[in-house]
Amino acid sequence: MKALAIEGLEKGFGGVRAVDGISFSVEEGETVGIIGPNGAGKTTVFNLITGFYRPDRGKILFYDKNIAHLPPHKLPRLGIARTFQNLRLFGKLTVFENVLSAVLVRGGYNLLSAVFRSTDYFVTESKAEEKARKLIEFFNLTGKEDQAAENLPYGEQRRLELARALALEPKLLLVDEPGAGMNPIEIQGLVQTMNEVKRRFSLTIVIIEHQMGLVMNISDKIVVMDFGEKIAEGTPEQVKKDKKVIEAYLGEEPL
């Protein structure tokens, strides 16, 4: 079953064709990596899927439902969660609140219950808090619950963003360059975390990544983009040998 199918997706900004007619699909449970040089249009694909941009043309099917024109806040409810390339945490909120907010978005009591403190309020809150704590524990952030998110070291902020995304209980997780700005040791840790995430949550994952070690390691399939187009697709082994891919990466880090 296809979890995600992108068909002929296009998006331009002024003269720039950021995404120029791209198609690919992701099977349920699969992990797909998107790689490509800077400015290839990878993040734009994510922004299109998650409703932050409206496509000029093309379809985005999530379990056969076209989601191309939904506003961003509707997508988590359907089961799509994302992280951002340059980290978007709620900086002044605590670690705990960052995760809790995502848990509570998914459902809960209404305004009157909140005002008059109904049973519904207490039950929902305590369940949500428990769930948030579990996620925080899973991502090794226990003990830091009450720190402001902006005061965490970079690597932990990345983990917190993942925890927040998973709090939404998504079916499809979109991760944008989780390894950016990390050293090789931190990358190792990240690979481990991602593998654990895959094992623990039944997830379909699309991951954008520059760090080849990471993306080749965890992906079942790789999509290579350049200048808004897909130039190759296949297993990590196939892609590594692809001529076009090597060309596109000429001068960049070796594969």
Binding site: F13, N47, F52, Y53
Partner: protein, 296 residues
């Protein structure tokens, strides 16, 4: 025939007011360009210009061009000082802090200058440096005041455009507006450029203050509030940060105001301007000449 001539007359009157708004709007738009700040105190610089000219004309017997020159120097100095004292320390603060500071500076100028031993809070008659003359052009009339306003505005605009598009200082201003970090990397002196922007904007507001007072010869420390807000709206209408947008916006706002007073009622003059603001913000927040930008 009569309606056409009435219409034309209103146009001339609208242009007169619009020209002054355009001069003030330029300062708003330029400062917004380099600092992303709505300089609330800008309307008060305009008021300051009117008062300085008032003292120059009533206390000293000097030719009118000197009145303009001295006033411009004084308001430019005021603009420079305000930026250095109040805004510069907040260069890295959140934008709202800067905005609140600007509101504070504006209130301070108004209430400080309204003290008894300064300008007081009363309306003061502005001494016109010359007699009013009306020229009848059969379809409509023009006064020498209007001609002077048009001429001075036109000259100021030409000089401003030369400065911005033909000198390296103007190039620096445009670069800082476009991207402050990149401009700094290119070796542009950001602080000096911001100062220059304030100086030029305040000088133009000073000119606006004189012209406005010649046309509507009653001055008061609070006189800058409404023209200030309206000129800012003009800048938004034209597309904030865009020089020619401010000029067009000023003219449109001036015209609308005169037309509403002429055809509806002067009570709703200010209301209509704010309705224009809401419409712009609703339909095209980037203004007439602005480009739409997407987020993320």
């Amino acid at each position: 025939m009569e309606t056409i001539s009435y219409l034309l007359q209103q146009c001339v009157n609208g242009l007169q007011l619009g020209a002054v708004y355009a001069l003030i709007a330029l300062g708003y738009t330029m400062v917004y360009g380099v600092l992303r700040l709505i300089n609330f105190a800008h309307g008060d610089i305009f008021m300051l210009g009117a008062f300085i000219a008032y003292y120059l004309i009533s206390k000293f017997d000097i030719p009118i061009y000197l009145v303009f020159a001295i006033t411009m120097v004084c308001t430019a100095a005021a603009g420079y000082i305000i930026e250095k004292v109040a805004y510069k320390p907040l260069r890295n603060a959140p934008r709202i802090s800067l905005l609140i500071t600007a509101v504070g500076v504006s209130l301070f100028l108004e209430y400080f200058l309204s003290l008894k031993f300064l300008f007081t809070a009363n309306y003061i008659g502005f001494p016109r440096p010359f007699e009013v003359q009306v020229y009848d052009l059969s379809l409509f009339t023009v006064t020498n005041i209007q001609l002077i306003i048009f001429a001075v505005t036109a000259v100021s605009l030409v000089l401003l455009f030369l400065l911005i598009y033909k000198t390296k200082y103007g190039k620096a201003m445009r670069a800082v507006s476009y991207d402050q970090e990149v401009a700094a990397l290119m070796g542009i002196n950001i602080d000096a450029t911001i100062s220059l922007t304030f100086i030029v904007g305040a000088a133009l507001a000073g000119v606006g203050g004189i012209l406005y007072s010649i046309a509507y010869p009653q001055i008061n420390v609070f006189m800058g509030i409404m023209p200030g807000i309206k000129s800012f709206i003009a800048a938004v209408l034209g597309g904030i940060g865009i020089i020619h947008g401010a000029v067009l916006g000023g003219l449109v706002i001036g015209m609308s105001e005169v037309f509403v007073s002429g055809f509806l009622s002067s009570t709703f003059r200010d209301g209509v301007i704010f309705i224009i603001l809401f419409l712009v913000l609703l339909l095209k927040p980037s203004g007439i000449f602005g480009k739409r930008i997407e987020k993320v």
